[in-house]
């Protein structure tokens, strides 16, 4: 079972999520300006961490550098075999062409950090 609490500020939720009997926890690091703070506390999680690093609710494309920095920061808290990358939520909130570019950016970020096997 996977739990993805979309949309809402989640930086205060990490410890609560850590205690839940689920296999995966998804976190939206983008759609709230405060959400990125959650990254500093990912070490509390024992589940697979699915990190929403590209904003599925805004057309601005994240740069390889900012995605790389986020992933590096996450890897300091969570081992690579428990870290997945994803958009912050479903891609229906974006025009089709932008949604495709967001997925490409995600794949590039994973490859760049050596996370794709």
């Amino acid at each position: 079972m996977a739990l993805y609490p979309y949309f809402f500020p989640n930086s205060n939720l990490v410890e609560a999520l850590a205690g839940l009997p689920v296999a995966q926890v998804g976190l939206d690091l983008r759609s709230r300006e405060s959400s990125a703070r959650a990254i500093e506390r990912l070490g509390a999680l024992r589940q697979i961490v699915v990190l929403g690093v590209v904003d599925a609710r805004n057309t601005r494309l994240e740069t390889p550098r900012e995605l790389g920095e986020l992933v590096e920061a996450a890897l300091r808290q969570v081992p690579a075999d428990r870290l997945w990358l994803s958009p912050t939520t479903g891609l229906e909130y974006l025009p089709h062409d932008v949604a495709v570019k967001k997925l490409a950016a995600l794949g590039d970020a994973a490859s760049a950090t050596g996370g794709v096997r």
């Binding site: 300006e33 805004n58 057309t59 601005r60 229906e92 025009p95 932008v98």
Partner: protein, 328 residues
């Protein structure tokens, strides 16, 4: 114009078939912009006459020239581009605007329409704008580092427009913020942005808020720097009024007493009961009955019927208040 329970509406009305056809023809390049504006002007005049005929007190131009309340402005503000299709719900898609670069207002956006509508009637016509927070929240932001930065930049654009409406003689300026409860933790941003818009206005200021968790922003929303809040109430069975028991409502209240999302026409008695509920919290001088929201999703006939119920209900309750005063 009555002095108590002034009746009004939120802004948009159903577009007549001939206007829908003209808009479609314009979109296909078969009708010029000038020709379309003539048709919009005709439809606007018809709505002014209809509002007068049913005896609404504070009128609107009916927004015959708008598609929706954000895209209309996005098409006129420099810095926006109209984005690709995005699903709103079901199989409905729309072109969501993108704030692509720093925003600015090349010229007034609504002032000519306000002047045109106001010149048609002796009754006051409201100037109608979309607020900076809603312009932000219903667009993508690629240009500003933070949402606050974007909201404040949009506030400067809306301020210029509102001050032009003020100078053009608008006695009421409505700055709609239906997105204000989308992210309750950003309410301070919406309040700060609205403060920039209304700081220099002589007109009475109004903000329409609808369809969200009003409890999540109350009572803090009373800090929104406007004179009047304009709220959808009937659709929520007036549940928000209970919030005023704990934290008294401090502004004028425009109260929705008919549901704009239902084809069913309320009775005068139902709408009058809604007004009486509002009177428990706000005096008749500060309570303005109206439909819950804009009526653009209804037909011309439905729009008219809903407004007529509001007006008749206000007359019933005014009569009751006069009778009580006479006995006192």
């Amino acid at each position: 114009m009555s002095e108590i329970l002034l009746t009004t509406s939120v802004g948009s009305f159903g577009k007549p078939d001939y206007l829908q056809k003209a808009r479609n023809a314009n979109a296909r390049g078969k009708l010029s912009g000038t020709e379309l504006r003539d048709v919009e002007g005709k439809a606007t005049e018809e709505w002014i006459r209809r509002q007068e005929a049913i005896d609404l007190d504070i009128l609107v131009d009916g927004e015959m020239y708008r598609g929706d309340m954000v895209a209309y402005f996005a098409e006129l503000i420099d810095g926006f581009r109209i984005g690709g299709l995005v699903r709103s719900y079901g199989n409905r898609y729309y072109h969501k605007p993108v704030i692509a670069s720093k925003v600015s207002r090349p010229k007034p956006m609504t002032v000519d329409w306000f002047r045109y509508a106001q010149a048609l009637t002796d009754r006051p016509v409201k100037g109608m704008l979309t607020g900076p927070y809603t312009l932000l929240d219903w667009s993508y932001n690629e240009a500003y580092r933070t949402r606050r930065d974007a909201a404040l930049a949009l506030a400067e654009v809306v301020r210029q427009e509102a001050e032009d409406l003020d100078r053009a003689g608008a006695r009421f300026i409505q700055i709609d913020e239906p997105a204000i409860h989308a992210r309750p933790e950003e309410l301070d941003i919406a309040i700060e942005a609205m403060g920039l818009v209304t700081q220099n206005l002589g007109a009475k200021t109004i903000s329409h808020i609808c369809y969200g968790d009003f409890a999540a922003i109350y009572p803090k929303v009373l800090d929104l720097p406007v004179d009047q809040l304009d709220l959808a109430m009937h659709n929520y069975e007036y549940r928000w009024l209970a919030l005023f028991d704990k934290d008294p409502f401090t502004k004028e209240l425009a109260i929705g007493v008919v549901d704009v999302h239902s084809h069913r026409l309320e009775t005068v008695a139902e709408a009058a009961e809604g007004i009486r509920r509002g009177l428990r919290y706000v005096s008749a001088e500060r309570l303005l009955p109206h439909p819950d929201c804009g009526l653009k999703t209804r037909t011309v006939e439905e729009s008219l019927d809903k407004c007529r119920i509001v007006v008749e209900a206000a007359k019933v309750v005014r009569g009751e208040l006069a009778a009580v005063a006479a006995r006192a």
